[in-house]
């Protein structure tokens, strides 16, 4: 019988972030991650399908669901893009704001590893699909829903990038608002 290990997933994620930062993603084995966390490989595989999923696990799925739920719940009379930003902000407050330090470490590891960048782009596409689905539930046609969701993704990427900068102080919620303003300026901007 496997023992119950308190917060095994969190301990494995912390251990993986440490090891990936120290020695790189490719050079780190699952066995090392488990050992660093004081757990067995078997426990690792109870929580994650593979080494990559430590960085892209259940959190991103819960995040997608939260964003989608908040888009659907957003009061009528809100513009579709504002509903998306609202959804991202609610999910930011609920799930992400406390995790800035580990998000910053995670960002560095992903940026150093092309394989992980591709995986991340896949996850972003899944978030866009979830947001587009939620917008269709608000009555938007398919094309506009997709375009709005992708504009929302762009706002999310921009804000997240600033949020994990060393010394960054603004909340993710505030950075999402200012990324929306920046995107408006880019779209409507005149010559430089």
């Amino acid at each position: 019988m496997p023992r119950w290990e308190p917060n095994a997933a969190g301990r494995l994620q912390d251990a993986a972030l440490e090891l990936f930062a120290q020695q790189g993603f490719e050079r780190t084995a699952v066995a090392e991650i488990a050992a660093r966390a004081g757990l067995t490989e078997r426990t690792f595989f109870n929580h994650f399908a593979n080494k990559r999923e430590v960085l892209f696990g259940p959190t991103s799925e819960r995040h997608q669901q939260t964003v989608a739920r908040e888009i659907v719940a957003c009061p009528a009379g809100t513009s579709p893009l504002e509903a998306v930003v609202h959804g991202l902000q609610e999910a930011a407050d609920e799930m992400l704001e406390g995790l800035r330090a580990s998000a910053a470490r995670r960002r560095k590891i992903i940026e150093a590893t092309p394989e992980l960048q591709e995986r991340e782009e896949g996850k972003r596409a899944a978030l866009a699909a979830a947001m587009a689905h939620a917008l269709r539930e608000r009555g938007l046609d398919t094309d506009t829903a997709l375009l709005t969701a992708r504009a929302g993704l762009l706002i999310e990427q921009t804000a997240e990038r600033q949020w994990v900068q060393p010394g960054a102080r603004h909340t993710l919620r505030d950075l999402l608002s200012s990324a929306l303003s920046s995107l408006r300026a880019v779209i409507n901007g005149g010559p430089t």
Copy 2:
């Protein structure tokens, strides 16, 4: 000495598109692609690193370079986002407009294969990076260049999606213009 084979890369790409469409990407072996094209596996590997690269080969790199060059060459006084759309349009005319049928087949194969979707997202990220680099050469700051490039990518994705629809008639150039208008409407839009 390997024989020189006329248009080997193009023949291999056509054969691969046929086989991927018929039997799926995963179930197709490099040996089959080479045989269908009347070429050897060795010739295949002279042109492509692996099966995946038949779909993401030198064309996407040339496309990136063309877009970047046209962004840099765009007359001063053009807004950054318009310079990006101009670059995409010039590359569309120069490289893509004649390839709609194979682009449509390629799109279907990618949509049916998650591994290829992730690879494509990686290629899109590379295009965004090339466009951002070109915008910095026009004097834009890093953050605005990145955001503008990503907005351009969104326009490109939207237009390409419409361009490969069955029965689509508009040129990619025209679809890029109308995707820019649609994005402006989404960004500035009121409630639905």
